[in-house]
């Protein structure tokens, strides 16, 4: 037996799977939010509940689908899509937390501005602040792969360091285990 053979054998021993250890760490309760709207007045409660769930020690995941994906867009991102319809959708829906509209009384953006100014005066954390807090607290922000494909969005169009995009199956799989699941 050569030295190399011994080394190879040692490698095999090292790489052999360790015996299954009993996991004694208590499982965290799970909370899943489906963010399907890009409206300011929906993004706000999504992120308030997400951060509060995290403050409750829960493992929180937000699944962003359809217009909800706007919340994760970088400001003023140019959609990298080729299709003219996707370009148009991107143009009229610039996204990012800065450009979210009110679902009613938006008045061409003035309503949203008034709401944000009021929130600032009343010391209500902004959607952007809450998004940053959520990230800091370990909330998982899942982009929907299908919506990205539909709207011609790439990972570069969205804020950095997001988890890999997933589909409805992953959302359902998580919701089956979650004690709180909400569609907002």
């Amino acid at each position: 037996m050569t030295i190399q053979d011994l080394a190879d054998a040692a490698d095999v021993v090292v790489e052999a799977p360790a015996p299954e250890m009993e996991d004694t760490t208590p499982q965290k309760e799970k909370m899943v939010l489906i963010a399907a709207s890009g409206d300011l007045d929906k993004a706000w409660p999504v992120l308030i509940l997400a951060t509060t769930g995290a403050a409750y020690g829960m493992e929180v995941t937000v699944f962003f689908t359809f217009w909800g994906l706007s919340i994760l867009k970088k400001p003023d991102v140019k959609i990298s899509a080729d299709d003219w319809r996707q370009k148009l959708l991107g143009m009229f829906n610039p996204g990012s937390t800065e450009n979210l509209k009110l679902s009613k009384l938006n008045f061409g953006g003035f309503g949203a501005k008034f709401m944000k100014d009021l929130a600032d005066e009343k010391h209500v954390a902004s959607v952007q602040e809450l998004l940053e807090l959520a990230i800091g607290m370990g909330v998982k922000l899942w982009p929907c792969q299908m919506t990205m494909d539909l709207m011609g969005m790439s990972k570069e169009d969205m804020i950095d360091d997001l988890p890999e995009p997933v589909g409805a199956g992953s959302a359902i799989s998580l919701m089956k285990e979650a004690s709180i699941s909400l569609f907002i």
Binding site: I48, T51, A55, Y56, K122, H123, V124
Partner: protein, 74 residues
């Protein structure tokens, strides 16, 4: 005197809960944290959070417009 004091004055929901949660992560079991808030919603939110998380609410009082909560980490 609490081991740690958290100032959540002028902050609205959900910040008082987020602030106390963060502070509780930074102290050890048996230590106390005092939260000062002006958000009226904290009157129900903080006791509910403490109960759900298993921390005990040792003291709760008001001074002027301020709500004080002293929690002991479980």
């Amino acid at each position: 005197m609490a081991d740690k004091t958290v100032d959540a004055r002028n902050l609205q929901c959900p910040m008082p809960v987020l602030k106390i949660a963060q502070a509780m992560n930074e102290v050890s079991t048996g230590q106390t944290v005092e939260l000062i808030a002006t958000d009226r919603g904290s009157l129900s939110d903080i006791p509910a959070w403490a109960k759900d998380m298993g921390h005990s609410l040792k003291e709760q009082f008001e001074t002027g417009d301020e709500f004080h909560y002293v929690l002991e980490k479980a």
